[in-house]
């Protein structure tokens, strides 16, 4: 079961798991996942549609009929059924969360994992390939790199895969060195070795 990061995601994951289970039986999981991702993109583009799905001022029956008219034979039946189930249970606001959970589950199924890579400067192609290869070996899955540039790191890289973070940044080294120097300095001062008189 993929990790979820809030109570709504926990609820959404229940729907995602059920959707994929049914899709898997009908060998349509890739198609369903892709269409759901497209639906979310459409919601992001068309604010009115997103509002239509989530607004409480539209009663469930009206929404049900509208969804049926809009999407029957234009959308994967399973996906439309999911929307109708969410509507019936008053959970249409979870569509984006369900899509995210489906994405995470599909990645897990394909032995893929998102890996966040933070560097001080943009990655070169060669470096990207090397990081992807090394990380994929370490996590035992195909690494899907999500890159971020943070000049604060000064140099090096911070890689985060799941719950594990590998910090090989210059900023971190400098921080650690500073702490050690302060500790050592305090130790020397307290020991009195550096005193005269």
């Amino acid at each position: 079961m993929p990790a979820v990061d809030s109570e709504s995601m926990a609820v959404a994951d229940v729907y995602a798991e059920s959707l994929l289970a049914v899709a898997c039986e009908q060998r349509q999981e890739d198609e369903v996942a892709a269409e759901l991702a497209d639906l979310v993109v459409y919601m992001d583009r068309e604010a009115g549609f997103a509002l239509f799905l989530t607004s409480r001022s539209i009663d469930d029956d009206t929404r049900r009929v509208s969804l049926e008219k809009l999407f029957r034979s234009k959308m994967n039946d399973l996906l439309l059924n999911l929307l109708q189930v969410l509507n019936r249970r008053g959970r249409c606001d979870l569509v984006r969360s369900v899509a995210r959970c489906v994405e995470i589950r599909m990645q897990a199924k394909k032995r893929q994992q998102e890996v966040h890579v933070e560097t001080a400067t943009p990655l070169t192609g060669e470096l990207r390939g090397k990081i992807k290869k090394d990380i994929s070996e370490r996590i035992g899955a195909e690494a899907l790199l999500i890159e971020k540039v943070s000049p604060d790191l000064i140099g090096g890289v911070v890689i985060r895969a799941g719950d594990e973070q590998i910090d090989a940044s210059v900023a971190s080294c400098l921080r650690s060195m500073r702490e050690r120097l302060v500790e050592r300095g305090i130790e020397e001062i307290h020991s009195g070795r550096g005193y005269e008189g």
Binding site: A3, V4, D5, S6, E7, M9, A10, R160, G162, D163, E164, Q165, I166, D167, A168, S172, C173, S176, M177, R180, L181, R184, G185, I186, E187, E188, I189, H190, R193, G194, Y195, E196, G197
Partner: protein, 554 residues
């Protein structure tokens, strides 16, 4: 004296030259929500219960709840600097505090950070906050007194080293005063004291520290502070931190230690706050179901560790740890075995000694505040059932001028006479019963009926004993002085003195003995017993002094 800058610079240069960078690999999570000293985290899949966490702003936390989709953690520091989405690292370690000789004389927070402005504490030693209480085999019965210097306690409710004695009473009845006097009285005894202040006003704590400093008690005391302005997590862990600091001296140096928890009611309230915020189910009085365990696991760590015995030459120095037969003997059965082995060895030049660094103890004085004398409410009854006795302080006694306001009738020490020197046992033997009889008669006498001579005598004796047991604050009595004072009272020397003159009589009597007959006091201290010979000498001494005292008054 000034430090050599060049010396420090060269050290730093050396550090930089030898520095090797290591890749930091850590288990991380993200903050989902934070507030009121608690945080809910996502991730940290390998986190374990009680694990120490580091937040992005440098605050320390501890894993409290391990739930399906998130972790509930308490923030032991500035939670206002933590925001949603911040990274949290797991340290893979349990929460620990710095311990050692460097802590003595310092005022610290529950994480061991100094609060007294005297600089960084130079200690590399650490102990986990929570540790298992020693098992049955590692303990031995309490048999050594811990003198509080307070007459009613040392005579009728004696405390032994390794005992847990609860101090319970309403607000402003003198609970902290008893604790402070006990700490002051440990001067010169080798006992290391830890005073844990939980949920108190910072001004009160400052005045306690000042009193300890004035009386030289800070030379052997550590003060752990989690004031009322500190977050609930710090108030929750403060007693455990104090206990860990005291345990270091008990286990590693074999010393006797005293830990005062002032007070555990506030720790229970802080724990209730944390538990409710983390949605643990509330029980009676909204406390979580494991509030008993909160106190029992703390107080069970107080104990008298079993001594280890060795056979050494009589001429060996006191810190000798090498046995002639390379054998350690454990506990009371071990001592008997050692004696038997010594006899079998046939070495007249050897003796059985306690191995240095063993047989330490941790005495606990937990304090509980009651509301309107209600000792049968939830938390007080919990702690009463855990401890080895309790000292009840009553506001009525306090306002009637009986200070310390101890109700000796209902106070009890389950260790009892085993924690008293022989001399005290002799003089205080029937004191509790006499005082109980006096209280019954006192109520009767208020009715106003005429009393027979015997009853009147008993009343007179009781009134004067009560006066003798009164004591000023920050004036602990040496046990020898207590014995002399109570002996004088029990011999009826004060029976015909006005009640108002008893305190003066006692003070002058003790001064008289110190000045004129110091050898009597020394003999009492050395022997620890009141022999018949000494008792006779004392009676004579008392008679002579009383004549002088009465003559001076007329």
């Amino acid at each position: 004296m000034k430090f050599k800058v060049d010396e420090i610079t060269s050290v730093i240069k050396q550090e930089i030259a030898q520095y090797t960078s290591e890749i930091d690999v850590a288990d991380v999570g993200r903050v989902l929500e934070v507030g009121d000293g608690i945080a809910r985290l996502y991730g940290l899949g390998k986190a374990m219960a009680g694990e120490m966490l580091e937040f992005q702003n440098g605050a320390i936390g501890q894993v409290f709840n391990l739930e399906t989709n998130s972790i509930g953690a308490v923030v032991l520091g500035d939670y206002l600097g933590i925001k949603e989405g911040d990274t949290v690292r797991g340290t893979g370690q349990l929460l620990s505090v710095p311990v050692g000789d460097a802590m003595v004389g310092r005022v610290v927070d529950p994480l061991g950070r100094p609060l007294d402005g005297k600089g960084v504490i130079d200690s590399t030693l650490r102990r986990p906050l929570e540790s298992d209480a020693p098992g049955i085999a590692e303990r031995q019965p309490v048999d050594e007194p811990l003198q509080t210097g307070i007459k009613p306690i040392d005579s009728m409710i004696p405390i032994g080293r390794g005992q847990r004695e609860l101090i319970i009473g309403d607000r402003k009845t003198g609970k902290t005063a008893i604790c402070v006097d006990t700490i002051i009285n440990q001067k010169g005894t080798g006992v290391i004291c830890v005073y844990v202040a939980v949920g108190q006003k910072e001004s009160t704590i400052a005045s306690v520290v000042e009193v300890l400093r004035e009386h030289g008690a800070m030379d052997y005391t550590i003060v752990v502070v989690a004031g009322s302005a500190d977050a609930a997590p710090l108030q929750y862990i403060a007693p455990y931190a104090g206990c860990a600091m005291a345990e270091y001296f008990m286990y590693e140096q074999g010393k006797s230690t005293l830990c005062v928890y002032d007070d555990l009611s506030k720790q229970a309230v802080a724990y209730r706050q944390l538990s409710l915020l983390l949605r643990r189910p509330p029980g009676r009085e909204a406390y979580p179901g494991d509030v008993f365990y909160l106190h029992s696991r703390l107080l069970e760590r107080s104990c008298k560790l079993a001594n280890r015995y060795i056979i050494v030459p009589e001429s060996a120095p006191s810190d000798c740890k090498e046995a002639v037969n390379d054998k350690d003997y454990f506990g009371v059965p071990g001592r008997n075995e050692a004696k038997a082995d010594l006899k079998a060895l046939g070495r007249d030049d050897c003796e059985v000694r306690i191995k240095p660094g063993t047989g330490g103890s941790l005495t606990a004085l937990p304090v509980i505040e009651t509301l309107e004398g209600e000792v049968s409410s939830y938390i007080p009854t919990n702690v009463i059932s855990i401890t080895d006795g309790q000292i009840y302080l009553e506001p009525d006694l306090f306002f009637a001028g009986v200070r310390p306001a101890i109700n000796v009738g209902i106070s009890v020490s389950r260790v009892g006479g085993k924690a008293q020197i022989k001399a005290m046992k002799k003089v205080a033997g029937s004191l509790r019963l006499d005082l109980a009889a006096f209280r019954d008669l006192e109520a009767f006498a208020q009715v106003g009926t005429e009393l027979d001579a015997a009853t009147q005598r008993q009343l007179d004796r009781g009134q004067r004993m009560v006066e003798l047991l009164k004591q000023g604050q920050y004036k602990p009595y040496h046990v020898a002085d207590q014995v002399l004072s109570i002996f004088a009272g029990s011999q009826g020397v004060c029976d015909d003195l006005p009640v108002g003159q008893v305190a003066e009589f006692e003070e002058k009597l003790l001064q008289y003995i110190r000045d004129e007959f110091p050898e009597v006091r020394e003999e009492l201290i050395k022997a620890g017993d009141l022999s018949d010979e000494l008792a006779t000498k004392l009676k004579e001494l008392l008679t002579n002094f009383k004549k002088q005292f009465v003559a001076a008054k007329t």
